[in-house]
């Protein structure tokens, strides 16, 4: 996983509540057995005017001129600001994969759905929760200023606006540590392999039926 330290980038809007993961990446693209290449189909049904299919050349598809990500001013955006309950619905990790592949490394919203929130951290994408009023201010400032950027410093847990305002945010220390260092958490968990084995042995003694093997 790529590390997340400091991000200074253009901000783009997803200005509606309850954005679900079907909207972030529609199901037909979930047939891929790869982890990459989902960026061109991020928000597919909103971004294009036709129905997208896997394997298409997206450069040849008709763009929806009303969808913000198609506006020149948001080109190259790496920070998405969104509304309540972002990422609800399906557990598909293809959603953060698509955001990351498109170029987003950070999503700021008043609230996130649990599974999506968790999936982001596994993919170098930082989800930041801010009070709804603060997110509203960011929307307003972004709409008012072409090329609006934010600087996000994960180590200091602070967002700095172009006007110089510093906004503090919360992040779990373990997740922060993994993200800052680009750590694969399987490797970290396997450092506790002895403890897992010890737990397993005790659990098997108590609940032997859970450890029976069945032939298919």
């Amino acid at each position: 996983m790529k590390a997340f330290t400091v991000l200074d980038g253009v901000v783009a809007p997803m200005d509606r509540a309850n954005v679900d993961t079907d909207m972030i990446i529609p199901k037909q693209f979930l047939k891929s057995i790869k982890r990459s290449g989902f960026g061109p189909n991020l928000f597919d049904e909103l971004r294009y005017l036709d129905e997208g299919q896997p394997g298409q050349d997206s450069a040849k598809r008709p763009l929806n001129p009303e969808f913000p990500l198609n506006f020149p001013r948001y080109k190259g955006a790496s920070i998405l600001i969104a509304r309540e309950n972002f990422g609800c619905g399906s557990s598909r990790e293809h959603a953060p994969w698509a955001l990351e592949d498109y170029g987003f490394s950070c999503v700021i919203a008043p609230s996130f759905a649990d599974i999506f929130f968790n999936n982001c951290f596994k993919n170098g994408v930082l989800p930041i929760v801010l009070p709804a009023a603060k997110v509203d201010e960011l929307f307003t400032a972004m709409y008012a200023n072409d090329g609006f950027t934010l600087k996000i410093d994960l180590d200091a847990q602070v967002i700095v606006t172009p006007a110089g305002e510093s906004i503090q945010f919360e992040v779990d220390s373990f997740r922060k540590h993994c993200l800052l260092n680009g750590l694969d958490d399987i490797g970290l968990t396997l450092q506790d392999a002895d403890e897992i084995s010890a737990f397993e042995a005790k659990w098997q003694q108590k609940s032997p039926w859970l450890f029976r093997t069945h032939s298919a």
Binding site: R16, A17, N18, D20, D22, M23, P26, K27, Q28, L30, K31, S32, I33, K34, R35, E45, E51, P54, G55, R83, E84, N85, C88, G89, S90, S91, R92, E93, P96, S111, A113, D114, I115, N118, N119, K122, D172, S173, F174, D185, I186, T189, L190, D192, A193, E195, I196, F199, E200, W203, K206, S207, P208, W209, L210, F211, R212, T213, H214, A216
Partner: protein, 475 residues
Amino acid sequence: MIMAGQTLYDKLWNAHLVKERDDGTALLYIDRHLVHEVTSPQAFEGLRLAGRLPWRVTANIATPDHNVPTELVERSGGVEAIADEISRIQVRTLDENCDEFGITEFSINDVRQGIVHVVGPEQGATLPGMTVVCGDSHTATHGALGALAHGIGTSEVEHVLATQCLIQKKSKNMLVRVDGELGAGVTAKDVVLAIIGKIGTAGGTGYAIEFGGDVIRKLSMEGRMTICNMAIEGGARVGMVAVDDVTIDYVKGRPFAPNDGEWQLALEYWNTLHSDDDAVFDKTVVLNGADILPQVTWGTSPEMVLPVSGIVPSPNDYSDPAQRSGCERALQYMGLTAGQAITDIKLDRVFIGSCTNSRIEDLREAAAVVRGKKVAANVKEAMVVPGSGLVKKQAEAEGLDKIFLDAGLLWREPGCSMCLAMNADKLGAGEHCASTSNRNFEGRQGFGGRTHLVSPAMAAAAAIAGHFVDVREWI
């Protein structure tokens, strides 16, 4: 010091806690991992790249479900006959990964194949007291057995395969209590839709929900699974119901259930799987069963739901600007007008199936409504997709397939089908569908498709009438 009682969630959590870190994250041991073709290939690839093997291979059970064709001719040819090449590769990849790593798989035409959340309980492969995970948000279904079950992402699928554990942070406890009794014709699906209507799609975010109260206690296991299945639509990853005689009777004798020698030992543990009388919940929500009417969603979020007697709302009904614009957008997408009666919504298609409502009881409920009647002329297609090969077999033994076919519905092979339309079963743009599935998001059942979530009985009645009707008037 007096210890407060524990909730069911507390008990399940504590029993599986391997270690807790200083910042409150914990390593939780996973008993059962269910695997399907869509969210697993990248995880197996990750294992291969890192040179890792599954920690406890027998903890994993796999079955293809999301992509499989439900049409008999295409299905009969097995994996290699799947017409869509990308789907075929994905299903084949699951077979190959299960072979390579030695994972038990119920493959495409095994009679035990089906939707992973139907197969687990049916096989006794998910049991009370277990931790159950799967790369699918509807994994909470298994919580109906008194298990701690939730959906995970693909990175976590790989993590569970490699370590038999998950890194978790404990959720808060929520009790949703449904008191009293349900009226005739009102089912588990109506109950869970009414709950989501009350708490909203984010109402359960950060919580593990225990469903309790007399209405839940009187439900069958199938009904309880329908309720827990949709916990995620209320924002909660975990939904669960305490163990009682209904649970025990359901589990007994299933292929993966404890054998005679271990049954008593298992029972002793399972009988402790309920919240203590003095357990403290962070939040409690109460509904009265008698107030719940058959439900129909009108919008593009499961919380946009009304009783069948309702009328489509107007954006002006909402004071919150986000809700107002959400309503406006939903009306536009759904092609509905404020003030329109729910019963005036005409239907183009009907889908009876999905991990929410494709079990034998659901099919009986639908068959009872359509028996001796005919699908309305304006309904282009009404489809029944059983949840597993064994559900299909049971339904056919009871003659339900004949009832559906005589009434003009299609009888298909098991899979996820039109719930998310990854296979050929999908809505056309602008088509209205009465669906027993779980999500009415934009495009969910097909590009431009318009989904209305309902119970199997309501879907069946809508198929016959061609528009929504109050099924209580039909029974």
